[in-house]
């Protein structure tokens, strides 16, 4: 029951995020969707992920998007694609969803009883990160650093090269 409420919340937020005309409203709806998803994670027993979801997406990504919107404010041209391309897009999206839903529906592998709640304590996650996934951790750290520097470099106001 709880799952259905949160799921509906999430989908509603997502739909609002992509369909609203005002970008700031879109971001607010996006935050709603992220929060709903975090709640779903908590329901599924992944507390750490749920909190990470809130911290990263709601706390960082959404704020970043807001900043971007503010920086590109005076664009003035909002709105959807042309009618034809909109129709085509909608058709494709429906097809994709249809196939996915049909696949889930027709799958036989999913019909077994849910196993007991697994343990995913912070300590276990920390141990796994530091022992088994130490190298990917290092790599993702490196990637984040590179992305940080790269983003800063790209977004920096360029100097006039030729006077």
């Amino acid at each position: 029951m709880l799952f259905t409420i949160f799921a509906a919340l999430t989908v509603a937020g997502a739909v609002a995020a992509i369909s609203l005309r005002n970008l700031v409203h879109s971001v607010l709806s996006l935050i709603l969707a992220f929060a709903g998803l975090a709640a779903v994670y908590l329901l599924l027993g992944a507390q750490f992920i749920g909190f990470a979801q809130i911290l990263v997406y709601v706390g960082a990504v959404a704020i970043l998007i807001v900043f971007t919107i503010l920086l590109t404010r005076n664009d003035g041209t909002f709105g959807h694609s042309s009618q034809a391309s909109w129709n085509l897009g909608a058709l494709i999206v429906i097809a994709v969803f249809g196939t996915l839903a049909w696949a889930i529906h027709s799958s036989t592998a999913l019909h077994h009883a849910p196993p007991p709640q697994p343990e995913a304590t912070m300590q276990q996650i920390g141990t796994a990160l530091m022992v088994r996934f130490a190298l990917p951790l290092e790599v993702i750290g490196l990637l984040l650093t590179a992305a940080l520097i790269g983003a800063a470099t790209i977004a920096l106001h360029e100097k006039q090269e030729r006077p």
């Binding site: 085509l88 494709i92 249809g98």
Partner: protein, 698 residues
């Protein structure tokens, strides 16, 4: 083995060394080059005397007169090819003759060639020639002999063409080399045959040499497919080499032309030594020539020796006839040389080694004397060689005249006091007793008559009467050197006359070693001690032959006097006395029996026709086949190209067009808009999932 035998190689090596050193000399180092050549030759002469005395001593002590030194040269297969040298009476006498005559001619050349630009080169070639000739003499291997023989031919070529700027000299040099090479190739084949028969080319090798008994017996017994003994075939082929080198008929044509060379060269090479090498070769391989089976009941002359005799006899008369009608002083002597070489061959054929060789030695002295005298005359007359334009020189050049007269009388065989008499007499005597036929004797006698006649003619033309040189110069001063108008003929310098005198002395004295009373030469060659006995004159047939030949000589001299000496010859342009007598015959003789023309129209023309044919074959037949094949290929490729152009290319162009069109269509997809790409991804994703599910189902 004595020191001189072990070091016999020094005799040719010294002149070779001198040749090498003077080849490096600069053009102006004339004195160095000449003294080097003469010094080396002098040393060789001394060594030759040593060798000669060594042989004399050995004979006197009754030891073996032949000593050989053999050494390995190179290996092929499982055997070594050996070369070697030897010292025997034949070698010894030839060594002394060659080095002595050579030395005198070298000295003479310093005077004769004094004004030539290429003086050093001349002495280089002369030394090389001497080295090669001495190599021929000492060789104990047919191969070594052949190699030196070819080198002799090379130096002869170089020296005939010494005045290379004259086209006639260059042509004569080439002619000489090639004509002798024809003979040499037969020689080469003979040598190969001998090698395959005897297994060795050493003449003497302690019983295993190719001239020793066992090899000769085998060769006589070995019959070829045409029924001739191998030894005969080999001997004839080797003799062909001698024919080429010694200017025998039919390969004599080069020798008169060779007179284009400087006169000392003619004296040394084309009179005294090289041309005699052919005679020497026959003498050297005489055991092979004379080899006959032991079983033959009647010992007659072998086929090889018969051929030698006939060729010699014919040459003797043939060349003497031509000599009668020549006007060039050197050409007369050249034909005389050919004729005398014929005598030597005949002597070898009918009488054996000693007879032929004796004439070779005496002839070497008096003929080189004559040539050098002729050189002196030419030198004195500003390079004039035509005897009709000489005359009256006996007073102007007394020493030359005196020595020339000695040489001429020796050549004619003037009785008793001149060496030529004795050697020619020995030949005639042997021919008289030849078992096959008397004809060679008659031919020889005729030759002697002609010799006396043409020599008298020449001497009258050159030395008697009045000088016709000046008158000629008045007639056509432009054709001859203008400076000679003021100069009169003069006597030559002492370095030219002294050798003449020495040679003249020898030409007289040498007769003493071969008289029937004291046949030293004969016994020396056969390795015995000579016995002195006047009884030698009384042997069967000797005195009649001597008388006959004396008569013949006097007849010849008298005829000469009759035609040319009775009335002084007044003008160079008047026809010859013989020409007046019978112009037709005279012209045939003057044109050398048209042998050159005959060769020109047969052998040489055939040869060039073959050459043209071969070139034609190359250009049109072989190349034609290739060209037609390639044309066929070209035709096929043209066909293929048409197919390509009209069939393949057209359809290909169509295909290309389609591709371009569809490419344009496809390019529309590539709009550059992200969203359109993503649409594609979406469709593909859906399709992929469907396909996967469907395939999992089925």
């Amino acid at each position: 083995m004595t020191w001189i035998v072990r070091n016999l190689w020094l005799i040719p090596a010294l002149p070779a060394l001198a040749a090498g050193l003077s080849a490096l000399a600069k053009r102006h180092q004339r004195r160095f080059s000449a003294s080097l050549a003469i010094g080396a030759m002098g040393l060789s002469f001394l060594l030759s005397l040593c060798a000669f005395s060594q042989v004399m001593l050995a004979i006197a002590h009754g030891q073996a007169s032949r000593q050989v030194v053999n050494f390995p040269w190179f290996q092929f297969g499982d055997q070594w090819l050996k070369l070697g040298w030897m010292l025997d009476p034949l070698t010894a006498i030839m060594l002394v003759m060659v080095t002595f005559v050579g030395l005198l001619i070298f000295i003479y050349s310093t005077g004769y060639m004094a004004h030539d630009d290429n003086f050093t080169r001349f002495f280089c070639f002369l030394s090389l020639f001497a080295a090669a000739m001495l190599g021929v003499v000492i060789a104990n291997s047919l191969l070594l002999l052949f190699m030196c023989w070819e080198l002799v031919g090379l130096t002869s070529y170089l020296l005939i063409g010494f005045w290379y700027h004259k086209p006639s000299a260059a042509a004569a040099a080439k002619k000489a080399f090639i004509t002798t090479r024809i003979g040499d190739l037969a020689f080469l084949v003979g040598m190969l045959w001998l090698f395959s028969q005897a297994g060795t080319l050493l003449f003497y090798d302690q019983g295993a040499g190719c001239l020793e008994h066992s090899a000769l017996t085998a060769m006589v017994a070995h019959l070829t497919s045409i029924g001739m003994a191998a030894s005969t075939g080999i001997a004839l082929l080797i003799f062909a080499g001698a024919v080429g080198k010694s200017g025998q008929v039919p390969l004599h044509v080069w020798l008169p032309d060779a007179m284009e060379g400087p006169t000392p060269v003619s004296a040394l090479i084309h009179a005294a030594t090289m041309v005699a090498a052919g005679v020497f070769l026959v003498a050297r391989v005489y055991p092979l020539m004379a080899a006959h089976s032991d079983t033959a009941s009647v010992i007659t002359a072998t086929t090889a020796l018969q051929v030698v005799t006939w060729i010699g006899a014919i040459t003797a008369v043939f060349a003497a006839l031509i000599a009668v009608a020549q006007n060039d002083i050197k050409r007369i002597l050249a034909y005389s040389t050919v004729s005398q070489l014929g005598y030597m061959m005949m002597g070898l054929g009918v009488g054996g080694v000693a007879v032929g060789m004796f004439h070779l030695i005496t002839h070497a002295f008096f003929k080189s004397l004559l040539f050098m005298g002729a050189g002196s005359v030419i030198h004195g007359c500003q390079e004039e060689q035509d005897i009709r334009r000489m005359g009256g020189l006996s007073k102007l050049m007394p020493i030359t005249f005196a020595t020339y007269a000695v040489g001429m009388l020796a050549l004619c065989g003037f009785p008793l006091f001149f060496s030529g008499f004795w050697s020619k007499d020995a030949i005639l005597h042997a021919a008289m007793g030849w078992s096959i036929s008397r004809v060679p004797f008659y031919l020889g006698s005729l030759g002697a008559l002609l010799t006396a006649f043409y020599m008298t003619r020449q001497v009258y033309y050159v030395f008697f009467g009045t000088s016709r040189l000046a008158s000629h110069n008045e007639v056509a001063p432009a054709t001859h050197a203008p400076h000679s108008t003021s100069a009169t003929p003069h006597e030559s310098p002492s370095n030219m006359t002294v050798p003449l005198v020495l040679l003249a002395t020898c030409a007289i004295l040498l007769g003493a070693i071969g008289t029937p009373a004291w046949p030293w030469f004969d016994s020396f060659l056969s390795g015995e001690s000579p016995v002195f006995a006047f009884a030698g004159f009384l042997e069967h047939g000797i005195l009649p032959v001597m008388l006959t030949s004396t008569l013949i000589v006097f007849l010849g001299l008298a005829l000469g006097w009759w035609f040319y000496g009775r009335k002084p010859i007044l003008s160079a342009d008047r026809p010859d006395a013989l020409e007046q007598l019978h112009p037709g015959i005279f012209h045939v003789l003057q044109n050398k029996f048209y042998v050159d023309e005959l060769y020109e129209h047969t052998v040489i023309r055939w040869n060039s026709a073959l050459a043209t044919f071969s070139d034609w074959l190359d250009r049109w037949v072989w190349n034609g086949v290739v060209m037609s094949v390639s044309n066929l290929v070209l035709g096929l490729s043209w066909l293929a190209r048409s197919t390509d152009t009209y069939l393949v290319n057209t359809s290909f162009d169509e295909g290309c067009h389609t591709v371009t069109t569809s490419g344009k269509l496809l390019a529309r997809l590539q709009s550059g808009r992200t969203q359109s790409y993503l649409r594609m991804v979406g469709i593909a994703f859906a399709a992929l999932v469907l396909v996967l599910i469907w395939s999992a189902r089925s």
